[in-house]
């Protein structure tokens, strides 16, 4: 019971930290200039889909890191499956 209250208190403290985020609405946005740059230079990628243009051309280095994270995680799953099979054989 006491732990319940402590956890709830912790969550409410985190909620208080996020209070500004909880009061946001769609109207009050920070003006970002980076998407204007992407919209102006979209023809350099030749892609109509702006999300793809950012994902695979402007920010391909980010995607490269993401692909490597995916590779390592899936390699971990495959290796864990192989060790499990070996234990069954024993």
């Amino acid at each position: 019971m006491r732990k319940d209250l402590l956890t709830l208190l912790l969550i409410f403290m985190i909620a208080a930290l996020l209070l500004q985020g909880l009061q946001l609405s769609y109207e009050d946005k920070a003006d970002s200039e980076i998407d204007d740059y992407y919209k102006e230079h979209q023809s350099r990628t030749g892609s109509d889909n702006l999300v793809e243009a950012i994902l695979l051309d402007f920010r391909a280095y980010d995607t490269f890191g993401e692909v490597m994270v995916l590779y390592v995680a899936i390699a971990g799953v495959i290796i864990l499956g192989k060790t499990l099979k070996r234990r069954d054989d024993r």
Partner: protein, 129 residues
Amino acid sequence: MIVKTAGRALAPFILLSGVYVASFGFLSPGGGFQGGILLASGVILILVTHGRKEVHRLAENIDWFETFGAFSFLVVGLAGLVLGGYFFSNLIPNTPLMCIILDMVIALKVFAGTVAVFVYFFGLGVNEC
């Protein structure tokens, strides 16, 4: 029986739509990740309806697909470094070549990863089948 027939009938169309979504990602909604997940769902449908034996050869060699995807991504980036001057620069400027190549690579990679995960988790629960 009904499930097997329906799965066998639906799987090619799901795979085809996956290839479509992946290859036309630069013109329309979609892209490499979504196409890869669609491709994987076609294989998972066969895995669920027909058992593990039908996808045995693919499941044995799925890690090669994964490794090929990861390293061809790196090779494409290095080709951009050689041809364009910086990492992942467009190979031919003002054409969607980079988007198409990387879409295909990512679709292959996400397909391999999702199929590997599902084969692993199905192998845990279903011993015969």
